[in-house]
Amino acid sequence: MSEPVLAVENLSIAFASGRTTRRAVHDLSFAVDRGETLAIVGESGCGKSITALSLLGLVPPPGRIDGGRVRLEGRDLAALSEAELRKVRGARIAMIFQEPMTALNPVLTIGEQIMEAILEHERVGRAAARDRAIALLERVHIPDARRRFSDFPHRLSGGMRQRVMIAMALALSPAVLVADEPTTALDVTIQAQILDLMDELKRESGTAVVLITHDLGVVAQHADRVLVMYAGRKVEERATADLFARPLHPYTRGLIAARPRLGSGRFGRQRLVEIPGTVPSLSGRPSGCAFAPRCALAEVACTVAVPPLVAAGGGSVACLRSGDVHVPEHRREALDA
């Protein structure tokens, strides 16, 4: 087996405020192979976006990586100087963001912004960079690319801007593309177009994709593997098909059950199932399993120590009760009480 293009080993990210430091991400490990799409899912506030930024060495202060390593194509990013890191960013690992409306500079044309990525990393002339930028716009299916090149971002729709972001990210054929909720801010039809485009480009170039999302529909269609995060920890990692067929962690099951579905219930409507409670804040994380306070299956043992990740169902899961997939109704009631 060849080495994965991206390997994250025991990554921890902490935020310092005053004298206290709080861990936003704990001991996170995962790997992505060439041409593979790994989805990282979880509710807001579980550490997905900060993990994404850490892959590019862009954790905003006062946050910092305080443990573990990020290895990109075999190189430890933490060992690189800021100048070396800058040469990697955009060139070997690129990122697209959630808000295409604000992620582009309003006072520069989209063409200039794509050219900037090329000129920053390669010694090419402006004319050559311009031609490549136009070719990239065509590659992400922006109609009339030559004219669009000199448009400012506010002239483009959200979907078009996200295409520009993708063109910019792919300008230097990176080994890894990190997409942080790339479609959350877009209409449903546009979402599908953008994700299909990302799949298409991934097939052409063999780029590995780390897809951060909270939309399980997106995960089911576009990811090869899924990593479920809760309160800064990995709680389950499985192949997509396995995860949806037989989710092991109660949180994963809750996420899957909470998806809106068509056609069930009277008049095709029913109340959405939800997971009670919210993700605990950084300061208020309980000892033991962070999900225990919201979990119907929790027992005393769950609150004592953080459950370790164990191999299960072709992947791994961190839950003491993951064996109890089908809980008898009377026991669940007893646990709730």
């Binding site: 590019l56 862009l58 800058r86 040469k87 990697v88 960013r89 955009g90 060139a91 690129a94 990122m95 963001f97 808000e99 604000t102 992620a103 582009l104 500079n105 309003p106 006072v107 520069l108 900037e116 990525a117 920053e120 990393h121 400012f152 506010h154 972001m165 910019m168």
Partner: protein
């Protein structure tokens, strides 16, 4: 564009006439008139002499007649005659306006360029020593009264060091021409421009710093970082351009107030500008002259604001004039 200009020129005419009307009535609220002041200066005045003066100046007419004749004059761009100075108002203003524009232009250019640069540097080194030093110095200039800075500059650079002239706009005895004259004026200009500029410099330093830091927090800066763009380039290309918009806005607003600040500085440095002329006219109740100066100032301010609007479209492509 042409349509925009046409519309805003219409608005400008309306605004200027509105200001002129308000000025006219506002100035009548002050007690006393030119006749009283002149009579007071003469030491002895009979009621007949005062009446004669008032008749000569047209001050014996009912207010509405004075107003209508003033309005007619404004509409025909005739600013009237200063009985006090014995010259047409327009000539007096033409004599003094260049000096004020020179002083204003120099100080604001100094304030924006140096203040902007300092704010830029402070923002790039936010929280570090350079930032602390720049921010503290800016605060000191911001908090110090303008006239006091002026007097202190004179004490240090003119009296103690004898590097620069104390006041005035040109050396009387020199009779210089061409470049020599320009150099002489420049030498006279340094202290007043510095005095007026330092206060505004502080404002632009703080504004630029705050504005840059705000833009640094925006998503597209993160995008640029993720692209691997060099920090210097991010600062100049992405942050600075977006941070300039509030600077331009403030500039437009302040050009009006800097005209007020000019009065003080022109008085301290005996600078033969419009501000001092206005100051004298006010005390002498030379209403024609004062109205003329206020009228000219409003024209300058209004057109500067039009220029600011046009500058927006260059700086920010999202703003379109229609």
């Amino acid at each position: 564009m042409a349509r925009y200009l046409k519309r805003s020129l219409g608005q400008i005419a309306f605004v200027i006439i509105g200001i002129a009307v308000i000025n006219f009535f506002l100035l009548r609220l002050a007690p006393g008139d030119a006749a009283q002041v002149m009579a007071g200066e003469a030491g002895s005045a009979t009621p007949e002499y005062m009446a004669a003066l008032r008749q000569q100046f047209g001050l014996d007419q009912p207010l509405y007649v004075q107003f209508l004749s003033y309005l007619k004059n404004v509409l025909t761009l005739n600013l009237g005659y200063s009985f006090r100075q014995g010259m047409p108002v327009s000539e007096l203003i033409a004599l003094r306006l260049p000096a004020t524009l020179l002083l204003m232009g120099t100080s604001i250019a100094f304030a924006v360029s140096v203040g902007g640069t300092l704010g830029f540097l402070a923002a790039r080194h936010a929280g570090r020593l350079a930032d602390t030093v720049i921010s503290s110095v800016a605060l000191v200039f911001y908090a110090t009264p303008v006239f006091w800075i002026g007097v202190m500059l004179v004490v240090v650079f003119s009296v103690l060091l004898d590097w620069l002239p104390v006041g005035g706009m040109a050396s009387i005895e020199s009779g210089l021409t061409g470049l020599g004259y320009a150099a002489d004026v420049a030498q006279h200009l340094i202290l007043p421009a510095l005095t007026l500029g330092l206060f505004y410099l502080a404002i632009y330093t703080r504004l630029m710093r705050a504005s840059m830091l705000e833009v640094y927090g925006q998503d597209f800066v993160r995008t640029a970082r993720a692209k691997g763009v060099r920090p210097r380039r991010i600062a100049l290309r992405h942050v600075l351009r977006n941070a300039l918009l509030p600077i331009v806005t403030t500039l437009g607003v302040q050009l009006g107030s800097i005209l007020g600040g000019a009065i003080l500085v022109e008085t301290v440095f005996a600078w033969p500008g419009l501000g001092r002329l206005a100051f004298e006219a006010l005390f002498q109740r030379d209403l024609n002259l004062l109205l003329g100066i206020l009228f000219c100032s409003s024209v300058v301010v209004v057109f500067v604001n039009l220029a600011v609007d046009l500058a927006y479209t260059v700086l920010d492509p999202r703003i379109e004039l229609s």
